[in-house]
């Protein structure tokens, strides 16, 4: 293979399962002596007393440090390099976010502590809410949902409550065939039927189909804008008109807000309800799969239906929670939401200010277009429509040699990068979905384009190299079939 300029092989440590290191008598803990009398647990608990903690491990502190440190070195991460994953917005996770989240009064606050000593937390919630409302161009917001999908559910619950209050809950949600899987899954959870909406040859919503399918049974259209192809729905005002004319609502999946912040506002182009992903657009860390946070912003017509409680300013000027919300859809989780992520998202907004946010969005779109230009011709571009912060290619040209998007993705690993999103969106067979985000330097992106071109050459000259990839990792092409046929989901002693 051409020498990868981004990465090289390096000795890394092996490490077994923690249970394989465990042995009786080792300990990593020590509790202070009890300052109250000891208790007789058998007497207090009777038959409820636990007899055995089974194979819970017994190891020392250094073994734990080495265990997890070694494991961590087997991971790719944003801190190591670009993730070109489409619609994931893998941007830099600022460290000041982590520092401020750990300040004592914030980190150790109990959610039920009296309002009098919660003014700090309430101010954080209020300030973030106001910033997000301004950024989205909406009227009100809830921060309660724990993630994007949770936000979608909350948003659709409010849509349903709204229609119910008008006398007809309606029956279905229209969802474009390019949508993320959470969209139809969520619609089903809220007991709406899902009806698919076709995309046109430009990769946008087919307006004629929408007009034909829109009627008084349709509660809402769930739209991602820009969509999963990175294309901005230019007819968005027509889309909103068609929906509103028949009393329907426009729901926007905010996963792709990284193309809009500071440049355009969904509330201005007809969106009635939308969710945000703080772990995408607002830099809170992915942490290996979560936590996230999925606030839902709405127009004032939906305000009565917000989950309770809502933050209000009381007559004495202090902040508090209002629980008396008779039309609320209820709670979607205990307490107030992933507060730790509010802190991080607010710190990100503060670090940027209006000019920083705008420049961030400009860089995100510039980067994606730069990569698009770099790879045009090497990979098939199914839609010639201008794209914003992400771009979708296909494996059509490489398929002739029997190589698919998944194989190219695996080979990219040998070049030192994390793969792009494969096989999504569904409307592009063999998709390669790429979103660099603003966090990538010209150098990193040049290395990426170089790697992708090198792989395309390998496909022509020696496709087996790509089909065998990755070859530089500790494990390669794990047997997912066996894992699904005979699942082994925990360790057991021999």
């Amino acid at each position: 293979m051409k020498t990868a300029r981004k990465a090289a092989l390096h000795v890394n440590q092996n490490e077994g399962l923690i249970f394989e290191k465990s042995s009786a008598g080792k300990a990593a803990w020590k509790l202070p002596p009890l300052d109250v009398p000891e208790v007789d647990t058998a007497e207090l608990l009777g038959s409820n007393e636990r007899r055995d903690l089974g194979v819970m491990p017994e190891v020392s502190e250094i073994e734990i440090i080495r265990h997890f440190t070694r494991l961590s070195t087997w991971n790719y991460a944003i801190d190591l390099g670009m993730y070109p994953l489409g619609s994931c917005t893998m941007k830099y996770n600022p460290r000041v976010n982590e520092a401020v989240a750990r300040v004592e009064g914030i980190a150790n606050a109990h959610p039920y502590q009296p309002e009098k000593i919660s003014q700090g937390a309430l101010r954080i919630i209020k300030t973030l809410s106001e910033c997000l409302i301004e950024i989205t161009g909406m009227d009100a917001i809830t921060l309660q949902p724990a993630a994007g999908a949770h936000g979608e559910m909350t948003g659709l619950l409010m849509v349903r409550a709204y229609h119910q209050s008008k006398g007809n809950a309606r029956k279905k949600i229209l969802i474009p065939d390019s949508a993320h899987g959470t969209n139809p899954a969520t619609a089903a959870m809220v007991n709406y039927a899902v009806e698919n909406l076709k995309s046109d040859s430009r990769g946008m919503v087919d307006i004629a189909s929408l007009a034909a399918q829109m009627n008084e049974d349709v509660a809402a259209l769930m739209l991602t804008n820009p969509n999963t192809l990175g294309v901005f729905e230019q007819d968005i005002h027509k889309i909103a008109e068609i929906l509103h004319a028949k009393g329907g609502l426009l729901y926007m999946d905010g996963a792709n807000m990284n193309a809009l912040v500071g440049k355009a506002r969904p509330g201005d182009f007809g969106v009635d309800v939308m969710h945000l992903n703080l772990h995408k657009t607002f830099s809170t860390p992915h942490g290996g799969g979560g936590p996230g946070s999925g606030p839902v912003a709405i127009k004032k017509g939906l305000e009565p239906f917000l989950p309770a409680p809502v933050v209000i300013t009381k007559s004495d000027g202090t902040l508090g929670f209002e629980y008396d919300r008779p039309h609320s859809v209820g709670r979607v989780r205990a307490f107030y939401g992933n507060f730790g992520m509010f802190v991080r998202a607010l710190a990100y907004i503060q670090a940027n200010g209006p000019d920083g946010l705008r420049q961030t969005t400009e860089d995100a779109v510039l980067n994606a277009n730069y990569i698009r230009k770099g790879l045009e011709g090497t990979y098939d571009l199914p839609y010639s429509t201008p794209t914003m912060h992400e771009v979708v290619f296909s494996d059509k040209l490489q398929l002739k040699k029997g190589v698919r998007t998944m194989d190219i993705a695996k080979r990219l690993i040998d070049y030192g990068f994390h793969p792009y999103t494969t096989a999504f969106p569904l409307i592009v067979p063999g998709a390669l979905m790429i979103e660099p985000t603003e966090s990538e330097s010209k150098e990193e992106m040049d290395l990426f384009v170089e790697a992708m071109k090198a792989i395309a050459e390998e496909v022509e000259e020696n496709p087996q190299t790509v089909l065998d990839a990755p070859v530089s990792t500790r494990v390669s092409r794990l047997d997912e079939t066996a894992a699904a046929r005979k699942p082994v989901l925990r360790w057991k002693p021999a």
């Binding site: 096989a423 997912e480 079939t481 699904a484 046929r485």
Partner: protein
């Protein structure tokens, strides 16, 4: 691939083998090839009522799930417990691995199904796309 002549086929790639008023159902070679390695087969319990053309279960590969459509209406009399342990048998021998047996409610429905030759033609057209 030539398809066994002792049975009929559906456009959703199921086969049905008739024996008087009872029938045996499975999926075709084309189906198992499209799915890839099968990891799980979900079938109804004995006694369940099937309606022709409606879904009665699913077959899963690692990355996809496909609905199974009943070729004919009837009551399930037997289910192949082997597939719960070895779903890969459907890949290895799709025409020999049966999924369920049923008593037919309306044998007339079978007239609408595809003959082995027609099914083969249908599959070749599909593959051509």
């Amino acid at each position: 691939m030539s398809y066994p002549t002792d049975r009929k086929y559906t456009k959703e790639h199921e086969w049905i083998q008739i024996n008087g008023t009872t029938a045996t159902v499975g999926i075709t070679d084309y189906a198992q090839q499209s799915l890839g390695d099968i990891v799980f087969v979900e079938v109804p319990k004995v006694g369940a009522e099937l309606a022709a053309g409606k879904t009665f279960g699913t077959v899963e590969s690692v990355k996809a799930v496909s609905d199974l459509y009943a070729p004919a209406s009837g009551t399930v009399t037997e289910v192949n417990g082997d597939l719960a342990i070895s779903p890969e048998k459907v890949n290895k021998d799709p025409h020999g691995s049966w999924m369920l047996k049923l008593t037919l409610k309306n044998p007339g429905e079978l007239d609408g199904l595809l003959s082995p030759a027609d099914y083969e033609k249908f599959v070749n057209e599909e593959a051509g796309h």
